[in-house]
């Protein structure tokens, strides 16, 4: 399911804040769904899909931080921007540690929120792209035989063919064949590219992907 890239969920127990922010964000071409409490959001979150959450911390009933934790436990991985009326250092640190994208203190200029949203979306995009690449590379890596994976590990660590031959107790020629197959299957045009791929896949010298 593709996520709409402009749907924002806004949760704040203050009517005026919700109304003012929705007004502004809709002018900036975002699709805004507003909820007066964390509980109201949880009721619909599985059905509706959004790209981003703008969340107050201190609310009647469940707090924004609690909501963050609940979403995590439901494996709902949405970027969250916290807006809050009482700048408490501890809350902000906690929120960021738990993976919030940003933390803004009320009152703030509209533009500040806009900037933060745009930035968050960009980062999300980057993250998604990286995940996609990783996924593709992993698929390719899985097509390598165990021996080929081993060779790939040595190659990206700068071990020469000769050394590999000795280590694996095979002929130089065998090594060359393995190497060639690795490059093809991984679709790497050069050794440096292969190295970059291995970094992305987080392969260590022994050929294990973490």
């Amino acid at each position: 399911m593709t996520q709409p890239d402009n749907r924002i969920f806004l949760v704040d127990d203050d009517d005026a804040v919700r109304h003012a922010l929705k007004l502004y964000l809709e002018r900036e071409n975002f699709e805004v769904h507003e909820y007066p409490s964390a509980e109201d959001l949880l009721d619909v979150i599985d059905d509706q899909v959004a790209s981003l959450l703008v969340l107050d911390i201190r609310m009647k009933g469940m707090s924004g931080l609690e909501l963050q934790s609940k979403l995590k436990s439901r494996n709902i991985d949405l970027p969250i921007i916290f807006i809050t009326g009482h700048g408490n250092v501890q809350s902000s640190v906690l929120a960021m540690k738990e993976g919030a994208a940003d933390f803004i203190e009320k009152p703030f200029e509209n533009e500040k929120l806009l900037e933060s949203i745009r930035h968050t979306f960009k980062e999300e995009e980057k993250r998604k792209q990286l995940n996609a690449i990783k996924s593709a590379l992993t698929d390719r890596y899985k097509t390598l035989t165990p021996r080929e994976q081993e060779v790939m590990g040595y190659v990206v660590n700068g071990i020469s063919n000769k050394q590999m031959a000795t280590l694996l107790n095979v002929s130089d020629r065998t090594i060359e064949v393995h190497r060639s197959r690795v490059m093809t299957k991984m679709a790497a045009a050069s050794l440096p590219e292969l190295v970059r791929m291995s970094v992305t896949l987080e392969i260590n010298g022994a050929g294990r992907v973490f």
Binding site: D14, R27, G85, P107, N110
Partner: protein, 521 residues
């Protein structure tokens, strides 16, 4: 005359035989009766001390039969010391014809009797002393009692004078009979200065008419036989006054009449000081609790206020955008919107500062650059000063030296002083109000901070109690500021005081130790 009874008549000394028989006989009978029934030792001795006659009492008390005594020197029955006394006194006795001494008589079974001895010469017809009459009274009991009494007296004195408390003795009229050394030393007076005086007129009570009055009234009750106890003060040397737990304890005789009254005082100055400190601490704690509650309230308030402010600023921003996209932009309205936004931001900052000021804060200390702290504070003060039209001057010469301090607490103390100055200037309607904050290196080890104003100054009667709780001449305010301020500065190992030399205004000084180069941080 019965046989076997020794009488003067039977001895070879019989000077009176030729006198009229009847008179002699009467006299003899009288003498005989006295002689036989006396409960005293009676001897007749010759000038050398040889015993010629003894009375029955001697035998009954000493255990010696008459024939063991008669013919002996009287000295044989004395202890060695008494023998010497006897030898000394004899010449005088022979000359004057009478003598008194205390001697010790040893009984047959070795007991020593203390005797009061009186000797009288018996003149012969030539008026020379040919014999002496010795009468000895047993004073052993009396002596023992006297010794026991002396012993008891010594022990009493020892306790009386060495106790740390004040003790004395009064008679039922209130006259001081005795005072112990402790009480005398405390006030630097001598026994003779006070003994014989009315107690309430003695120097101990000279510092307070009120306490004198109380004492008189208390004494009246004590004289009636009641134990009275209350807290009072006594005057000591050097003008000091000690708080004492004082009591008047009446001593009664067997008939229930009060014969003595014992005044007693226990110094409780330290205890009272501790009580006062505890009370002050309690007041300050209560105050802190209120502040803490206020802090909670302020946090809640801040959150509440920031909501409408957030909405306000957002609305203004959106309105600004909408207006800016119109074909003909209404500049004035846009301008006003921007100003409205500015004010909303300002409101938010004020809330932030208030919260910061009343925040519970922790008591942990950090490194604080005092000049920087004051600079930051002056920003916060700007809007307050703008209203009161007071000019503030900063003269910061601490050269970046740092102190170990809780910056919020130090701020509180300084802000309190500044607020007090501003209020004083405002109330006195001084038009060119001036507030000065100065810092400088006092010594190598400390920084001196001075907060001065050109206000009306502090009234002389307020100066003594300036740092005590609840001292305020303001209508509002609890008067805790300086008391807490002092506690904070003391907790920072510093000092705060009123500069007595400042004329035309008020000046408070704070001294705080700087961090030394080799301080462990």
């Amino acid at each position: 005359m019965s046989k076997g009874k020794t009488t003067l008549a039977n001895t070879s000394y019989n000077p009176c035989r030729r006198k009229v028989d009847f008179a002699l006989r009467e006299s003899e009978i009288r003498f005989q009766t006295l002689f036989d029934s006396a409960a005293e030792f009676i001897f007749v001795i010759d000038p050398e001390g040889k015993i010629l006659l003894t009375n029955p009492y001697v035998s009954s008390q000493s255990g010696y039969e008459p024939d063991e005594i008669i013919g002996q020197s009287i000295k044989n029955f004395f202890t060695d010391e008494s023998k010497q006394i006897c030898d000394c006194n004899f010449p005088g006795l022979r000359e004057r014809g009478h003598n008194r001494a205390e001697i010790e008589f040893v009984t047959k079974d070795g007991r020593v009797l203390q005797m009061e001895c009186s000797a009288t010469g018996i003149p012969d017809k030539n008026n020379e002393f040919t014999s002496f009459l010795i009468i000895q009274r047993d004073i052993t009991e009396r002596k023992h009692s006297a010794e026991a009494l002396a012993d008891s007296e010594r022990r009493f004195r020892a306790i009386f004078n060495s106790t740390f408390q004040f003790i004395g003795l009064l008679n039922p009229d209130g006259i001081l009979l005795e005072s112990n050394q402790t009480a005398l030393d405390f006030t630097g007076i001598a026994n003779k200065d006070v003994v014989g005086e009315l107690f309430w007129e003695t120097p101990w009570w000279s510092h307070s008419e009120r306490e004198q009055k109380r004492l008189k009234e208390a004494f009246k009750r004590a004289a009636e036989g009641h134990l009275v106890r209350y807290e009072t003060t006594v005057a000591g040397t050097g003008g000091r006054v000690a708080a004492i737990d004082f009591s008047l304890n009446p001593v009664k005789n067997d008939q229930g009449e009060t014969v003595l009254i014992i005044p007693e005082g226990r110094d409780i100055t330290e205890r009272k000081q501790a009580q006062e400190d505890a009370q002050r601490h309690q007041l300050e704690s209560a105050h802190y609790m209120r502040l803490s509650l206020m802090g909670e309230m302020a946090a809640g308030m801040a959150h509440e206020l920031n909501q409408p402010l957030a909405a306000l600023i957002s609305y203004c921003g959106t309105a600004h955008s909408i207006l800016s996209e119109l074909p003909s932009i209404p500049r004035e309205i846009v301008d006003m919107l921007d100003r409205a936004t500015e004010q909303a931001h300002r409101a938010s900052e004020i809330i932030s500062h208030i919260r910061h000021f009343v925040s519970k804060g922790d008591t942990s200390k950090g490194t604080v650059d005092i000049d920087r702290l004051i600079n930051e504070m002056s920003d916060f003060l700007e809007w307050e000063l703008r209203n009161s039209k007071v000019n503030i001057a900063l003269n910061l010469k601490a050269k970046g030296r740092e102190i170990t301090a809780n910056s919020v607490q130090i701020e509180q103390v300084l802000l309190n002083l500044i607020r007090n100055s501003l209020e004083a200037i405002r109330n006195a309607r001084i038009s060119n109000g001036q507030l000065t904050l100065e810092t400088e290196l006092n010594t190598e080890h400390s920084i001196l901070i001075t907060v001065s104003d050109n206000g009306p100054g502090i009234a002389p009667d307020m100066r003594d109690r300036l740092f005590e709780p609840f001292q305020t001449n303001k209508e509002s305010g609890m008067g805790m500021g300086l008391s807490i301020g002092r506690s904070i500065i003391q907790a920072h190992k510093g000092k705060i005081w009123l500069n007595e030399f400042k004329k035309n205004g008020t000046s408070f000084c704070i001294e705080l130790p700087v961090i030394e180069a080799n301080d462990p941080t």
